[in-house]
């Protein structure tokens, strides 16, 4: 059973656009929600993360919006650049019981110059 559902599977935007990637989860005990960026042939790298006690977190051009009641969270990339073209994964974990990450299926983002 997929613990975290991610959409869309792929996304194409023009440079300067604001791609939005969405994730939904079922387990209300999850308490840590990171987003990872992965370039071809590389391991995932942490981009930004949020805990359920806040509704939004911003780091540079990347923003996470978190809706605890809907059990959803999303990644927004402001002023997207061609260098942002990568695969993005959301994840969720129970940090007090082993910190196992449950990953979404990934979104392939292409930013057209």
């Amino acid at each position: 059973q997929q613990q975290v559902k991610q959409s869309p599977q792929s996304l194409i935007v023009q440079k300067g656009g604001i791609p939005i990637i969405n994730c939904a989860y079922e387990n209300t005990a999850f308490d840590y929600f990171p987003w990872y960026q992965q370039f071809p042939g590389k391991g995932p790298a942490l981009l930004i993360a949020i805990r359920p006690d806040v509704s939004e977190k911003k780091e540079g051009r990347f923003t996470i919006s978190f809706n605890k009641s809907a059990k959803q969270f999303s990644l927004h990339i402001m002023d997207s650049q061609p260098g942002d073209s990568a695969t993005y994964f959301c994840a969720a974990s129970l940090t007090n019981t082993g910190n196992q990450f449950y990953f979404g299926t990934g979104t392939s983002l292409t930013v057209i110059p």
Binding site: V4, Y36, G41, G43, A49, F89, N96, F101, G104
Partner: protein
């Protein structure tokens, strides 16, 4: 900047052969994770170590996969015998502790089973 090291980066093997992957976590990181990432999907946890002890290996196919972290530092993941369905990226990650901590990923080992 400290990084998780993995080797080899690429491995091609034939069905029924044995393969082994090595991971060296960031120095001082007590927790080590092995993930499998099938093309087009997110990583899935295979095994998790806290120091030299296995914390979770519920998703590890134990009939053919084994993992060890004998001295609580580097780790080896072995597959014997390899099957066609094992073709995937094998990722190692580490974190300072088992609780409430960011996981840092290595570059992965791309396994192709022919």
């Amino acid at each position: 900047e400290a990084e998780v090291a993995q080797s080899p980066r690429y491995k091609i093997t034939e069905k029924s052969q044995a393969v082994a992957f090595w991971c060296d976590p960031i120095s001082g990181h007590a927790t080590l994770y092995w993930y499998r990432q099938i093309l087009g999907q997110g990583p899935e946890l295979l095994v998790q170590f806290q120091d030299e002890s296995v914390v979770d290996d519920s998703q590890l196919p134990k009939d053919r996969f084994s993992a060890e972290r004998l001295k609580g530092v580097d780790s080896t993941l072995k597959i014997q015998p390899a099957e066609l369905g094992d073709s995937a990226m094998y990722l190692c990650a580490s974190s300072k502790t088992i609780f409430r901590d960011e996981q840092f990923f290595g570059p992965g080992t791309r396994l192709t089973v022919l």
